[in-house]
Structures are given as C-alpha cells and as structure tokens.
Amino acid sequence: MLSYPRTSMQARRLPLASSAAQRTTLGQLGDAYNFDEALQEAGLWPLSSTGIEILQVNVGKVCNQTCRHCHVDAGPDRREVMTQETMEACLRALRSTEIPVVDITGGAPEMNPLFRWFVEQCRELGRTVIDRCNLTILETAPHHDLAEFLAAHKVELVCSLPHYRALGTDRQRGDGVHAASIRALRRLNALGYGDGVSGLRLVLVTNPVGAFLPSAQESLERDWKRELWRNHGVKFDALYTITNMPISRYLEWLLESGNFEAYMERLVLSFNAAAASGVMCRNTLSVGWDGTLYDCDFNQMLEMPVEASVPQHIRDFDALLLDRRRIETGRHCFGCTAGSGSSCGGATVDT
C-alpha cells in the first residue's frame, strides 16, 4: 500500500506532472505498444470523427478531493479555471450547431464560480447537460444548495463512486469520501434523482481501485444496485465502468507500485476492435479550461490538441471542419479499447 497523496503532482513539483514527461514514459515502452498499428491491423486507421454529438467542457482543474487515480491531477491547490469569455465561446459554438449534449467536467466543475450560470445558459439552449460530480462537493458548505439547483435544471448527474463499500472508495479517493458520498446520494434520491420516473437521471461511475480492468458493466450494475439499496437505501439509474487511463496520477501510482508494464501489457493484450470503433473521441469534442480543443479529456491532459489543420480554440469553432477531423492518438488510447471498452459513457461494447 502506498501513502495517499494530499496534493497534486504539480504542487509536489514532480517531473511527471508535465504532460511531456508522461508522454515520454509511455513512449519508452516497446513497439508492441503502438496504438496506430493496432488500429491498422483492425482496419480502423486512421481514426476520424463521426460528427460532434457531445461538447465536453472542462471548466477547471480545481477540486475538493485529491484522488489517487485522477487523470487531471486535480486538487484544491490547482488554479486553472475557465473564464466567462471562454464559456461564452462555448455557448456560441452550441448556438451555431445542434450538438445535443453538454458534458461539464473538471476537477470538481461546480467549483468554477460560473458553473451555475453556464448550466443555465446551456439549458436555455435546450441542450442536455451532464455534470460529472464527485458527490462530496454536494456536502460542502459553499455548495449546500447545489443538489436543489441541479434538480431544478434537470441536470443529468454522472457521479464517481469506485465501490459500493468504503474500503476501496476511501483508499482511492480519501478518508471519509464513501460516507460523504452516501449522504449526498441519499439527498439526491430525496430530490427524485435515480427514481426512474422524475427524469432526473443519476448515473454512478466505477473505475478499478488498482491495476486491473473493470468487469462486465451489466453484471457490476446488478451488484451495485442490490448492495447500495440493501446497505444504504440508495437508488440510481445506471452504472458506468471506466478503465483507468495510464496518465497523470494513475500513471504515478502504476510506476510507484511496480505495476506499469504489466498494466500496459494487459491493456494491449485486451485490445478489442469493436471497442476501438466506438471510442468516445469520435463523437465528442473536448474543450480545455483555456478554450483549447482536444479529441478527449485524456488527450487534453496530455496536451495533445486536435489535428493542426482544424481550429485549435473554441472561439474559432467550425463544425464543418471539426466534424471531419482526424483523431490524435497515443499509447494511452489502449485504455479506451481494452476489453469491453471504456468511455465517459462507460463500456462501449455489450458483454
């Protein structure tokens, strides 16, 4: 077992905090870890966008937690926050298209002072709004009325809960996180979230607490539903399984625990062509806190923007060009194509 980090890698001034160092670490693996070759063998190269259906907006890296596996290296010590000017550029892009879903992430996105304003603007445009919520933020004093706000605006919640029991959850996310998460889930249930009839969709997200892949989403969802109801009286609509991406603080943990090479080997050996054809980057456009455009949140953290021939910033948004862009790939992409596949919407292949 390793000690639990209380600060971001950036605050600890670790060389691995830089995206370049992370890309170099992944690049030092052998030729078998070439993602483009795996795509070629599956007849899927080059990977390209199928059209933007989800605008995923990362509104900042500030978070009230410092989770062990965080691919953002988020935490209370981070200062990157999306400005209103950049949010307005996102709204202009939305007005110029019919992109149906706005997926707001962070950090803890609710800690951006403009979060509520942005949600209201997106909802006024008639778009489905997803909030990637860590649950504990709902239990903090400055956000005491956040749950009611989210319900009033019919925001879909996609909430992190690595395990229905405390042991794994607290080991990954910090002491007391499980208990606070359960309290928050009960409050959400009381507002109608997860009841299946109110239209307030509540999704839980689990990612493995260690160096292994998630199991079949459907099977885990049955266990999660039974155990959360039996032990805590909590209901939810769906469970997404997400594979941990070998970047940022999860990469730090893999290296420290001596699991890096075996984990990468597992990802490569589990390459699934069906999962590769359904990766989320094909229908998603990811916006960084400073407005830079990426194919996904993982590429964002590795500072790999969209291909050079298309607009690089949300203020220059051009749907025609971005809808047909070629996806930038790297060795970390094996994380989305292993086994049943992984995306911000959970597994991408039925099992």
């Binding site: 395990h163 029991r165 042991l167 493995p208 199991s215 099977s219 266990d223 999660w224």
Partner: protein
C-alpha cells in the same frame, strides 16, 4: 525450465496443456468457461467461491488468477479475506470432525 516447482509465468502457459490431447483440453476449457458464466450466481460470487477453493486446494496459480478476477468483478479485499476464512474454516473443521473417528477408535481400543 525453472529450478522451482512453481513458476508464476506458467499460468500464461495453461493452454499449452492442449498439446498431445487437444480434444480433451478443449472440452475442459469450454466447460470451464461455461461454469464461470453469469448464471444463478453472479460472476463476482463465482469468483469469490473460486478464490476460496483455490485456498482450499492451495493452488498458487488459482490464487493468482482469482485474486485478480475477484477484484475485476467488483469484490474488495474484505470480501476476499472472508472468502479465504471460509476455506480455512472448512479445512479446519474437516480435520476436527475426524476427531470423532479418533474417539471411536480410542473407545474401542481402550479399557
């Protein structure tokens, strides 16, 4: 060949057992896969049972494989430890219950 009777890398060579008897091996692996499919018991419950049995038969390959499998299928260390205690309890109980046989012999042979 390793100097040790047990080599962790041998686990990946399990399918080599097909050599010389492929039909028998195929039957075994097909049946094995069917046994662990989701059924009346969940995949997680089956993995926990397998972990307990692995400790009962003390197979290091099985312990390796099913420790990983249990975690992947959503079990945590507390649940896995309880499963191992079940194996230990059955093993211990199996020894102790034979004490009744011992007592039969003692009664028969003693004055």
């Amino acid at each position: 060949m390793s100097d040790s009777y047990y080599d962790a890398s041998d686990l990946k060579k399990f399918s080599d057992i097909r050599e010389h008897a492929p039909e028998l091996a195929d039957k075994f692996f097909d049946w094995y896969q069917a046994v662990f499919a989701e059924g009346a018991l969940s995949a997680r419950e089956k993995a926990l049972i397998a972990l307990a049995v692995a400790h009962g038969v003390q197979c290091p390959y099985c312990i390796d494989a099913y420790s990983k499998s249990c975690l992947e299928k959503g079990a945590d260390a507390e649940q896995m430890t309880e499963a191992v205690h079940i194996a230990a309890a059955i093993r211990g109980g199996a020894s102790l219950i034979h004490g009744v046989q011992m007592r039969h012999h003692v009664r028969k042979l003693s004055m």
